[in-house]
């Protein structure tokens, strides 16, 4: 008898395992009704073709995903999903956080896209838009947007929209380009998080005051960094992470940049770019004011050992828990007369294989309304991507930091931020793979700026010719 019971339990557990896996709509892959677009050049026509077959079902299940930076953001996005689930008629939403703080969101997403199990709507960083679009992995929603009453692409910041409306066929961008790859979730810029206690202790001038007086330039920055570094061998004046964002601002601020104006060739070896790189190299090697490049500067900043920590708005929730007085200030102005800031962005895009493009488009719009963006921005991790004074005014109230204006100053036209963007004429991941280690070699003292300038574009330009 016991053997029979045991067998029965085993059989039931096995059946339950299989059936439980079957009966969950939350993990169901989008049905591949709409064929994947083979290339961006065919994208507009393909997108029109996807309009026809979608028959609005009584209750269309949609999965969506965005990369959260922390658990609090997961909670906010989960709540947003529940709210939209109630307000969007005929659509049932399932939110998936995707990667976590330690997991790689993009690798997971790409694997799921390849396997055909990616969500209907997902977020990708701005640098990935071209790769996803040209490989036909995301839907061109221009035809859907064109027949959407009240939709205005100009309601969003122009930098991200330049890339999101870029049509590789004819290399044209804008509302009439015939391409729309998604809508920006939010924007962000760099600022310097200040340890005010260290700056006061060093007797250095307050960077916020210098910024107000228009005196916050590279020299002033170096002065504060050196004075705080002098506090002790374990105290640093400046810290930044090792990726393209932090080092890019120094190149931008000196009038250089990663590419030429139309993003079709390497510009890392221009005199301006090398000037920016040289200043940054000196911060690490000659003046020795920065935490070693390649080491995460956030732990020492949080431990009270770094005076100025360069990071985006997304670092704010974490910094809010530090045990010292802190605030933020704009990046210092470079020789070019601007701080060289980035306009970081990422976009909600629609899976090319979604069975419900129209419903997915409704979701993308709902996720980028001023109201939804306000809920996310209230957490303090990012800035709404809609150009709206109301949204910006609201953002200023999300304190600390007291000087929220520092982030907004980075977005203004006067600051001339460079929009984070994909390479339509090449492969951004490959470009980054060549540029990153070479710059790291300079900043860690393994290569001179001259050597870098003499060779980098020979290698990097191959990315464009492919």
């Amino acid at each position: 008898m016991n053997r029979k019971i045991w067998k029965l339990i085993n059989l039931l557990v096995l059946a339950a395992l299989a059936l439980a896996a079957c009966g969950a709509p939350a993990t169901e892959a989008p049905a591949a009704e709409a064929p994947a677009q083979p290339a961006a050049t065919e994208a507009p026509a393909q997108a029109v073709a996807t309009e026809a077959p979608a028959q609005p079902a009584a209750d269309v299940p949609l999965r969506w995903r965005t990369r959260p930076d922390n658990k609090e953001e997961i909670a906010v996005y989960t709540q947003i999903s529940q709210d939209l689930d109630s307000s969007l008629e005929g659509i049932t939403l399932a939110y998936e956080p995707g990667g976590t703080e330690g997991a790689n969101y993009q690798d997971q997403l790409k694997t799921e896209v390849a396997a055909g199990t990616a969500p209907d709507v997902f977020w990708i960083p701005g640098t990935d838009v071209a790769d996803f679009a040209t490989r036909g992995l995301i839907l061109n929603i221009a035809p859907l947007a064109a027949k959407t009453e009240g939709f205005d692409a100009q309601a969003f910041y122009s930098g991200p929209m330049y890339h999101l409306t870029y049509n590789p066929e004819g290399a044209k961008s804008g509302a009439d380009s015939g391409a729309l790859w998604g809508l920006p979730r939010d924007v962000s810029t760099f600022a310097l998080y200040l340890n005010l206690d260290l700056i006061n202790e060093a007797g250095a001038p307050d960077p916020r005051e210098l910024a107000k007086e228009g005196k916050w330039d590279w020299n002033a920055f170096l002065d504060v960094a050196q004075k705080t570094r002098a506090l002790g061998s374990d105290i640093y004046g400046y810290g930044a992470s090792a990726w393209w964002g932090p080092y890019g601002v120094w190149l931008n601020a000196s009038g250089g940049g990663f590419y030429n104006a139309d993003r079709t060739a390497c510009a890392l070896n221009t005199a301006e770019s090398l000037q920016g790189l040289e200043f940054q190299r000196a911060l690490y090697q000659d003046y020795d004011v920065a935490t070693p490049y390649g080491e995460d500067p956030e732990p020492p900043f949080r431990a009270g050992k770094v005076a100025m920590f360069q990071n985006g708005r997304w670092a704010t929730p974490g910094v809010r828990t530090v045990p010292f007085n802190w605030d933020v200030v704009e990046l210092p102005t470079g020789p070019n007369g601007t701080p060289g800031n980035w306009l970081f962005w990422g976009a909600y895009v629609i899976n090319a294989k979604t069975a419900h493009p129209e419903e997915a488009w409704k979701l993308v719009q709902a996720l980028t309304t001023a109201e939804t963006q306000g809920k996310v921005a209230a957490l303090g991790a990012n800035i709404p991507s809609r150009v709206s004074q109301e949204a910006l005014d609201a953002f200023l109230t999300f304190t600390p930091p007291a000087n929220n204006q520092a982030f907004l100053s980075g977005i203004t036209e006067a600051a001339k931020p460079t929009a984070e963007g994909p390479l339509w004429a090449g492969s951004w991941p490959e470009y980054d793979k060549i540029m990153g280690p070479a710059i790291q070699a300079v900043l860690t003292g393994g290569k001179t700026v001259e050597d870098f300038g003499a060779t980098i574009c020979d290698e990097a330009n191959k990315v464009f010719t492919k």
């Binding site: 439980a20 969950a24 732990p299």
Partner: protein, 560 residues
């Protein structure tokens, strides 16, 4: 061999004859169907089928068709070979149908839901298990029938209630409806019907009367049972290892990006990987573009001597840097995780008190999660607030104070300096692998006969002589195994680099390794075809190194 006795009487014999005819008919029919399926891809019936899929389908079904036809003829001739082939084909067909049903039912992509559901229902399953234990406990009260009866009854009810609640909380009815909905399509229905047919054919052929009629002998039954027991592992190997292996070999000759239909590019990927050039330098610091065709090659490195030197260029610079780093890594990580393990195992093999505790202590790093380990080491290595530099600073200060010297604190940038980045990875690997290797050596040491040491002692040998002349030679097979597996492991280094370094390639690509490069190419740069070629080149490198080790072992082994 003894024949299985035929115990059937006249009526069942006729029934058996009928079943045999049905089975031979089924084999013939299956042969025709499989042959049609094998031809179908080339008649344009499946326009979306990729080339490799068409080839796979034709090969599989073609072989199934041929063997099925052979089996039909053998069954008619009442030979056991027909039964064996039939059982193999029907068993594989049954497994294929189950997999298709699970796929169509969406089971494979429902793992998240499975975890979520079981999180809710696992307590009830545990309750059912407790009920089973209570019921089983009744067996210990044979002499007290009332107690036994109560325990069994209570146990049964707990099992029943637990299972009902488990099934309800596991959404079994929702799942049932969902799977019915998902299978209610031509593919699903065909799979279910095929499952039933294969199942019946399998049953028909497996039954004893059929076995007897086809002259089954004990060795036949033993062979079939052996294959049956082996089949889960064998099928798993074929589906999850051999299959992807062959597929990656095919992809290595394509431009696959994992998303779109791959195009055949021949050996282009391999040619790019292996395309190198060596040029003389007119001056030690001559620019690479002056010596190389910079449109094709990048500088990998240069050797300077006199007023010139040699420039080494490659079409894929990163592959050669990755190969160099991987070999350097293996060159240091293998001895550092083998030699200390050998010495440590000799100490731990002694009968000193507390040795068992230390064996466990040294083994812990091997079972700890690599991600956790790497994150911990990342903190330890942090140049500004890490403990390693902290202790170095304290040590230097202590030394200076004690001896009034002027030693300078080196403040090593462990992971951000290209001179030390790879070393940082090697230290972690050696620390982590050493414990496991120690256990292997311990096992080897315990197999060395004690008499050898006793004889050596009588002959006046000291501890060093014993170690050098007895322990080391007798440990040769273990050492060979340890060195081989550690080398293979070292050549595949990835996790530590990926987590510890930021970016993983390290300063000036000083920590880029072959598997890291492969991963970056395949999963981040959309170059699955190229990554597959890299994987096969890596395989050849590892295979070559292992082959050398094997030959070396044969040459020096005491056991030949």
């Amino acid at each position: 061999m003894t024949e299985i006795p035929n115990q059937s009487n006249k009526n069942p014999a006729r029934q058996n004859e009928f079943i045999l005819r049905l089975l031979s008919l089924w084999r013939g029919l299956f042969s025709v169907l499989a042959a049609s399926g094998a031809i179908a891809p080339w008649l344009g019936i499946f326009p979306n089928l990729r080339l490799w899929q068409g080839l796979l389908l034709t090969t599989t079904l073609g072989l199934a068709s041929i063997f099925s036809a052979i089996a039909a003829a053998e069954i008619i001739k009442r030979r056991h070979k027909g039964r064996t082939i039939s059982l193999f084909i029907d068993y594989l067909g049954l497994v294929a149908c189950i997999l298709i049903i699970l796929q169509v039912g969406g089971v494979f992509i429902g793992i998240d839901a499975l975890a979520e559901v079981f999180g809710r229902s696992i307590l009830f399953l545990l309750a059912a298990f407790v009920g089973y234990l209570i019921s089983a406990a009744g067996d210990y009260f044979e002499s007290r029938s009332t107690t036994q009866k109560i325990l069994r009854q209570v146990g049964k009810w707990i099992v029943l209630i637990g299972m009902v609640l488990f099934l309800l909380t596991a959404n079994i009815f929702q799942g049932l409806l969902a799977i019915i909905n998902k299978l209610a399509n031509p593919m699903g229905i065909t799979a279910i019907v095929s499952l039933i047919i294969f199942g019946l054919a399998l049953w028909g052929m497996w039954r004893e009367p059929t076995a007897s009629a086809l002259k089954a002998k004990t060795n036949h039954e033993q062979m079939l049972n052996g294959w049956l027991f082996l089949s889960p592992n064998l099928l798993g190997f074929l589906i999850f290892f051999a299959g992807p292996l062959l597929l990656s070999f095919y992809f290595s000759f394509t431009d696959s990006d994992a998303f779109n239909t791959p195009k055949w590019v021949g050996v282009e990927n391999y040619a790019k990987i292996l395309n190198i050039t060596i040029k003389p330098l007119a001056a030690p610091d001559q620019l690479a573009r002056e010596a190389l065709d910079i449109q094709v090659y990048d500088e990998v490195g240069r050797i300077k001597f006199g007023n010139g030197g040699i420039l080494f260029g490659a079409e894929d610079k990163l592959f050669w840097l990755a190969l160099r780093n991987t070999l350097v890594y293996a060159l240091f990580a293998v001895p550092l995780s083998v030699i200390p393990a050998l010495l440590l195992s000799n100490i731990l093999n002694s009968k000193l008190p507390g040795m068992k505790f230390f064996r466990a202590v040294y083994f812990i790093p091997s079972i700890a999660a690599i991600v956790g380990i790497s994150l911990v080491w990342q903190w330890l290595y942090n140049a500004t607030i890490g403990y390693i530099n902290y202790f170095i600073t304290i040590g230097v200060e202590f030394w200076n104070n004690l001896f009034n010297t002027g030693l300078i604190d080196p403040k090593i940038n462990w992971v951000s300096d290209e001179k030390t980045a790879l070393l940082a990875i090697i230290i972690i690997a050696a620390w982590q692998t050493m414990g496991f290797n120690t256990v292997l050596f311990l096992a080897g040491l315990q197999n060395i006969p004690g008499e050898l040491y006793e004889a050596a002692t009588v002959d006046g040998a000291g501890p060093w002589d014993k170690f050098w002349r007895i322990t080391l030679p007798m440990l040769a097979p273990t050492t060979f195994y340890v060195v081989s597996t550690t080398t293979i492991q070292a050549m595949q280094v990835f996790e530590q680099v990926f987590i510890l370094m930021n970016p993983p390639e390290g300063p000036n690509n000083s920590t880029i390794t072959l598997v890291l490069y492969l991963y970056r190419s395949g999963f981040q740069n959309f170059k699955q075809g190229y990554a597959s070629a890299l994987a096969w080149v890596l395989f050849i490198v590892i295979f070559g190194l292992t082959l050398i080790q094997f030959q070396n072992q044969r040459k020096n082994s005491l056991y030949e």
